[in-house]
């Protein structure tokens, strides 16, 4: 069964304190792994899509990496505006469908 597990559940960082969020996944065949950011009271906002092990993508202070079992979202020198819940999702090519399986997210709080 497809599964996505994110850790930690919550993370508090000081401004400028770099860290990483983890997304472990189990699928028969990965079509894509997706990162989204969700602010309170809003819908998720797309960040990255990763397709194969070894791939990396960057956007401002965020960098996403992918292995065959997990993905990391690295946050370099975070700012308070990076505070949000970060969601990871996968699509399993073997499922024959295009549904997304989401993890429960990591709630990030960056303190000034």
């Amino acid at each position: 069964e497809d599964q996505v597990t994110q850790s930690p559940e919550a993370l508090r960082l000081q401004e400028g304190e770099s860290s990483s969020l983890n997304c472990s996944y189990t699928v028969s065949g990965l079509r894509g792994l997706f990162w989204y950011r969700q602010d309170p009271g809003k819908g998720p906002e797309f960040l990255f899509t990763l397709y194969s092990a070894g791939e990396e993508k960057e956007k401002e202070r965020l960098k996403a990496t992918l292995t065959k079992k997990e993905s990391f979202l690295h946050i370099t020198a975070p700012k308070p505006e990076d505070s949000a819940t970060y969601l990871c999702a996968v699509q399993d090519i073997a499922s024959g469908t295009y549904k997304y399986i989401f993890g429960t997210g990591t709630r990030l709080k960056v303190l000034a």
Binding site: G43, P44, F46, A89, Y98, K99, Y100, F102, T104
Partner: protein, 114 residues
């Protein structure tokens, strides 16, 4: 341009009543997804539509839940005989097509069943 819109933004209903939630996707997007997000939980897939193909209903939790998409645009999620456990935020997303295209989410409808 306009993003995905959902209405109502909040809905309070009594147990046993039926509710309809509406989603207006981005114009031209052929794929439309519905999700449910309970407090502190991730997004639970409910159903997706892709063009004129039969929808994937595999995530609907019971036969009280149904959805339709008229004219390949607006979608309505209907919950019949609502139960307290149906209380959640219902999110809609659209994308150019199914596959690994970026999903654009609406702001959600917060449903409270009393």
């Amino acid at each position: 341009g306009a993003g995905v819109s959902q209405s109502p933004s909040n809905k309070v209903t009594e147990k046993g009543k039926d509710v309809e939630l509406r989603c207006d996707p981005i114009s031209g997007h052929t794929a439309l997804y519905w999700y449910r997000q309970s407090l502190g939980q991730g997004l639970e897939f409910l159903i997706y539509f892709q063009g004129n193909s039969a929808p994937d209903k595999s995530g609907l939790p019971s036969d009280r839940f149904s959805a339709e998409r008229t004219g390949g645009s607006v979608s309505t999620l209907t919950i019949q005989r609502t139960q307290q456990e149906d209380s959640a935020v219902y999110l809609c997303a659209s994308s150019q097509m199914t596959g690994t295209y970026e999903q654009y989410f609406g702001p959600g409808t917060r449903l409270t069943v009393t």
